[in-house]
């Protein structure tokens, strides 16, 4: 038992539908009291959640989840939006209580559920480091001790005495992650923090996470970034509909997850949307119109049709498109050089054509982003959807440019136009 870090038995969490938005007005309770005074007494002094009447107006965000994690393991949690990943992390970090079930946690828990929580825009970078440290459970003495390290990690030395409201969003995120990354708890819970920041900083974060696990600490890691999960985790939990679909070695679990995602693609994009995006401008439909909806022949151009809806006016928008292979590694990315503007309350159809793709035969899926700003870390995305459409590139066995069966170990790109000369 000595090396168990987290043990969970039958954890379930029930929400009343609408509970998340609505708060009770006093008159409702008073009206209830008119009808049955005893009920009021019970609802005030009794237990916090209504007893499960099952179904009727309630949903189970988590249903009977059990697993065990050993010390030093780095566990990735994958699953679509609404699968219960975040609820699970919230319960483990004690933000909310389970409706039933039991969990045992050996060690202090540090959670990076949302980077930058508790930052105050009016305070300087320096002040925010102390404040955020205290919120995350660091002692003042610990923050003092690590102050220089945190500042160096974030790379915001010159701006330490500037209120963070003047920071760029990239700087803000870097500083926030830097504080959180220096928590020294035995268990670290991470929810989708890598969705932010530029590539270089993401890399830094990933290596920091790798280092954390080398220290023998336990990491639970929720992400849509499949390749990050592949490179960091030694175990993966695949969640669906509030329960555990599969648990085991990363490669096989991720393959089955992606297979499921791709099998159901074409359904609503909501479930493929990266959490927190798509508030003002969003993709309402994405489809491939190349050859057919599911496949294209090797060498054919990729054509996508995107439908975008906007709730406000935004200028200088561009589209980003990344193609992922069957284990979720990104194969390549483009950002359109053309930009466009959207008006409030309107719908737009876009057509994206990519020629000269050279994708090797195999299964792929695409991810799209819509946003503005340059690529030097200043890009600001408004919506990101990963996983749709999925398509296959088929072998063209005859004629010009014929391809033999492609061996997976050769990678995903077929280099073309090579020349060999004997000199």
């Amino acid at each position: 038992m000595g090396d168990v870090a987290i043990k969970i038995e039958g954890i379930s969490k029930q929400y009343r539908i609408g509970e998340l938005q609505k708060y009770k007005a006093l008159r409702d309770t008073l009206a209830d009291a008119m009808y049955s005074p005893f009920k009021l007494f019970h609802s005030i002094f009794g237990s916090s959640n209504t007893e499960d009447k099952g179904g009727n107006g309630t949903i189970w965000a988590l249903k009977d989840v059990s697993f065990e994690i050993k010390r030093g393991e780095v566990v990735g949690i994958i699953g679509r939006n609404g699968a219960g990943k975040s609820t699970l992390l919230k319960i483990l970090s004690r933000i909310t209580e389970p409706t039933c079930g039991y969990a045992e946690i050996h060690g202090r828990v540090g959670s990076l559920l949302e980077v930058g929580t508790g930052f105050h825009p009016e305070l300087t970078g320096r002040d925010n480091i102390y404040l955020n440290g205290a919120i995350l459970g660091l002692r003042r003495a610990e923050v003092v001790q690590k102050f220089d390290e945190i500042v160096a990690f974030s790379g915001t030395e010159q701006f330490l005495d500037t209120p963070v409201k003047f920071y760029s969003s990239g700087m803000y995120m870097r500083l926030a992650f830097a504080v959180a990354a220096h928590l020294e708890t035995e268990i670290v819970l991470v929810d989708e923090v890598l969705a932010v920041g530029d590539m270089a900083f993401q890399k830094k974060c990933l290596s920091r996470m790798g280092q954390v696990s080398k220290d023998g600490r336990t990491v639970l890691f929720v992400s849509h970034n499949i390749s990050a999960i592949l490179s960091l985790c030694n175990k993966v939990i695949y969640m669906a509909d509030g329960g555990i679909r599969a648990i085991g070695a990363p490669q096989s679990i991720i393959s089955s997850y992606l297979a499921d995602v791709l099998a159901n693609c074409g359904e609503d994009l909501e479930r493929l949307r990266v959490q927190g995006y798509g508030k003002d401008v969003w993709f309402s439909e994405i489809k491939m119109v190349s050859n057919s909806r599911e496949h294209l022949l090797f060498g054919q151009e990729l054509v996508f049709e995107l439908r975008v809806f906007s709730r406000r006016q935004v200028k200088h928008l561009s589209i980003g498109c990344t193609v992922f292979n069957d284990v979720g590694h990104p194969v390549g990315t483009l950002f359109t050089s053309e930009t466009f503007s959207v008006e409030q309350g309107k719908q737009y159809y876009l057509r994206l054509l990519i020629s000269n793709v050279s994708l090797a035969p195999g299964s792929y899926h695409a991810g799209f982003s819509i946003g503005y700003g340059g690529l030097n870390g200043m890009r600001h995305d408004l919506d990101i959807v990963i996983g749709s459409p999925a398509f296959r590139v088929l072998t063209l066995s005859e004629g010009e440019g014929a391809m033999p069966d492609w061996n997976r170990s050769w990678g995903n790109i077929v280099f073309k136009d090579a020349q060999l000369t004997v000199v």
Binding site: Y23, L92, G107
Partner: protein
């Protein structure tokens, strides 16, 4: 190697244990949240901290004019300015604490839905922030006492006790209101009115000696009565000091505080859900 603490997570029933050790562990957070509030409060004002002094001074001037001069409200033979200011000192802290702690959990809802810590830290930090103002106004009062040549005498040794009574009353009410406001936002809109009503139910602008002797003890049901009378008694030598009325106030204050803590701690586990935990 350090001993690894073990936490058990399960649904808690009934009244949660108060877990004072945990509260002690998070004491620094209370300090930091208060420090944040203090730093930010007067940030974009031109005269900054001077507001702390100006507000009670202005109130004192207005009350002296209307109640002292025009309405001729008695002041137990003291200069009316001093009479009012000695009561405004505790009242200001009380009224600020109840109005700010009521909304404090809503203001910090992002924190509450994203990070774990004992939620009671949040209303506690509002009172810590208010205590800074309290100290500044106290200096002001002492300066005025010097000007009027009033020395408090040995009774002033009782003052810490009345300060404690003030803190206990403020926190007790603050815990109740802040926890109730998470579930019933009606509270938030009632508090300004409550604040005013409470002000006139407390002997701030008039002495409690205006009330008939036989009813005066019931006046002590308002904990702030005991606090205000006690402050005047310690500092200016007038009003009721260690009387049954003040004792009743103390009893009410302590029970408000105790029940407030228990109520708050038993509801706090539902706060994250009630405040909406999904929004990013």
């Amino acid at each position: 190697m350090r001993a690894i603490p073990v936490f058990v997570i399960r649904r808690s029933h009934g009244l949660a244990s108060l877990n004072l050790r945990e509260l002690w562990h998070y004491r620094e957070l209370a300090y930091f949240l208060a420090w944040r509030d203090i730093k930010v409060r007067y940030k974009q004002t031109t005269i900054g901290v001077a507001w702390v002094v100006l507000q009670p001074l202005a109130m004192m001037a207005v009350f002296s004019l209307f109640f002292g001069r025009l309405a001729n409200v008695p002041s137990d033979g003291l200069p009316y300015h001093l009479f009012v200011l000695s009561a405004l000192l505790p009242w200001h802290l009380f009224s600020r604490t109840i109005s700010e702690s009521t909304t404090s959990l809503i203001t910090d809802q992002r924190l509450i839905t994203k990070v774990y810590f004992p939620r009671i830290i949040v209303p506690v930090s509002t009172i810590i922030a208010a205590m800074v103002d309290f100290c500044i106004i106290a200096c002001l009062l002492f300066a005025m006492m010097l000007i009027y040549g009033i020395t408090p005498g040995l009774r002033v040794l009782w003052l810490p006790l009345f300060v404690l009574l003030l803190l206990v009353s403020s926190m007790g009410v603050g815990f109740w209101l802040s926890a109730l406001n998470v579930e019933y936002r009606d509270v938030m809109y009632t508090v300004p009115f409550l604040n005013q009503l409470w002000f006139f139910l407390t002997p701030v602008v008039y002495p409690s000696s205006l009330l008939p002797q036989q009813w005066r003890i019931f006046y002590g049901l308002n904990p702030m009565t005991g606090v205000v009378e006690g402050f005047r008694w310690c500092l200016l030598g007038k009003g009721e000091g260690l009387s049954p009325m003040v004792a009743l106030s103390a009893i009410v204050a302590v029970s408000l505080f105790g029940s407030g803590v228990i109520w708050f701690r038993s509801r706090e586990r539902t706060f994250a859900d009630a405040l909406g935990s999904t929004g990013v």
